[in-house]
């Protein structure tokens, strides 16, 4: 495939960007990269349409702005878009993208029938490669955009640490945690001891116990840690869809028949309120 463009929201040195480069390499190598700064929806879209003209394939990552822009970019350029790709291939000159569907219960292989193919990927699932030198595109400097709105006027980060998608170790809580106290008093200290990021299933986020940004699953973050410790999480397929790339899954759950045990490498069947304090004790002991 020739004419592969990478659109990067964030730093070209991020793992996500390196993953895009790795995915591009699989297809023959990226010809160019565009790094976007000061994102504003309409000006950036207009500018990207110009910047990407002529490309056969445009690759983006699975961040908010990429997902917002990708289908429209495809439409403007007369191409087709598909998202959440976990594997790529080329057959008879056409790009095929593998992605999870039906809440993570099935995998689909999708062939794009229009050019350019605009694909956003689970970039961190692809091996890293060096990003080509990138052209900068600034949202605030795009003067001849048709529209000034919608305009982002305020940004707030709920957690300034490493992004969940980049975390190596994750401790995640589900419906069985029972309330925000469980996260604050039990899981947070445990996460500290393991050097882990905290995450949650959709149930815990919907209940308002933790911020939505912690949500892992089909409609939350897709993570690929070395270790994912699921505490009081049932393990329904929608949640599993977000951790399918996790190397090791461990589980603590009071229900021996919870589906999470079908995906976990090891675990304990017991009330997390009993196990986690003990676990913290042991871990603290191991440290010293």
């Amino acid at each position: 495939m020739s004419g592969i463009a990478l659109v990067i929201f964030g730093s070209p040195a991020d793992r996500a960007a390196l993953g895009l480069a790795g995915a591009a390499e699989q297809l023959g190598g990226a010809s160019r990269a565009i790094v976007v700064e000061d994102y504003q929806p309409e000006p950036v879209l207009d500018a990207l349409v110009e910047a990407c003209r002529g490309a056969d394939v445009i690759l983006l990552s699975n961040d908010t702005y990429s997902q917002e822009v990708a289908p429209r970019l495809a439409h403007r350029l007369g191409g087709a878009c598909v998202g959440d790709g976990t594997a790529l291939s080329v057959v008879d000159g056409k790009l095929r993208v593998t992605r999870q569907v039906y809440g993570g219960k099935a995998n689909a292989v999708i062939e794009l029938r229009r050019t350019p193919a605009v694909v956003w990927l689970r970039a961190r699932s692809f091996r890293s490669a060096a990003t080509p030198v990138a052209a900068l595109l600034s949202g605030s400097e795009s003067g001849d955009s048709r529209r000034r709105t919608p305009k982002i006027i305020e940004r707030r980060e709920t957690k300034s640490e490493t992004r969940l998608e980049d975390a190596r170790v994750i401790v995640s809580g589900g419906r069985g945690i029972g309330g925000p106290e469980g996260f604050a008093n039990e899981l947070e200290p445990l996460a500290k001891l393991l050097g882990a990021q905290l995450a949650a299933s959709r149930a815990a986020c919907d209940a308002g116990w933790v911020p939505p940004a912690w949500q892992v699953g089909q409609t939350g973050k897709k993570v690929a840690p070395d270790l994912y410790l699921a505490v009081a999480i049932t393990g329904a397929s929608q949640h599993m869809a977000g951790i399918s790339e996790a190397k090791t899954i461990a589980a603590i759950n009071i229900d021996p028949d919870a589906p999470i045990f079908k995906h976990a490498r090891f675990g304990i069947v017991d009330d997390y309120k009993k196990v986690v304090p003990l676990l913290r004790q042991k871990l603290a002991g191991l440290k010293s």
Partner: protein, 250 residues
Amino acid sequence: MNILVCMKQILDPEVPARDFRIDAARKEAERGSASLVTNIFCENALETALQFREKAGGTITVLSFGAPGAEDTLRKALAMKADVAALVVDDSDANPNPLTVARVLAAAIRRLGAFDVILTGREAGDWGAGQTGALLAEELGMPYVAFADALEPGLRIKRQTESGWEILEAQTPLVVSITNDEHNVPRIPKVRDVMMAHRQPLTQWSVAELGVEAAEYYEVIELAIPQRETRCELVDVDTLARRLAEVAAG
């Protein structure tokens, strides 16, 4: 404020994995014993619209493109106090691609009137393409904001990002896709409203009546259920601590 909410009816995504089967030839999930439900994000979108209408006033139209059974989704929306309902019946046998869907919805929307805010769910629980809102915006020539969870008159939109949230200022008309939040959990309708919803009128069109043709976009080449099962080793707390520490150390 004229608000329109697109709603999709899908196979119950909570069907147990054991009961989930694929028709490999048609490249679709088998219906089996799964019920038909409204996509949860579409319900979040309707709830967002209802709360927005409480603040800004106006009417809510709900629109669906699907099998005749999608009428249930619209009746439930009317029970939640949407004002107008319209259904475009999909009589083709194939699973329409996102561009076809967007074109059909756009054609129906032009027939239904002028809208200030058009809401969709962020993605559907079956195919999860997540493109309907964006492509619809292009077809209608409107701006687009994704992953919103709240609207305020003004127009102010709050949307979720991977690390937190953002506030956007916007002008109507525009298309917004909605994601779930603790504040837009869909309300339970009152029984009286459920009973009345069945007596309300419902506009119905076929795709041909709207003059839309299926678009080339992409094709599902293969659909399969991955084989994946591990034997979970049940251990004691000591062993658990050791193994976790080992793996976490890397």
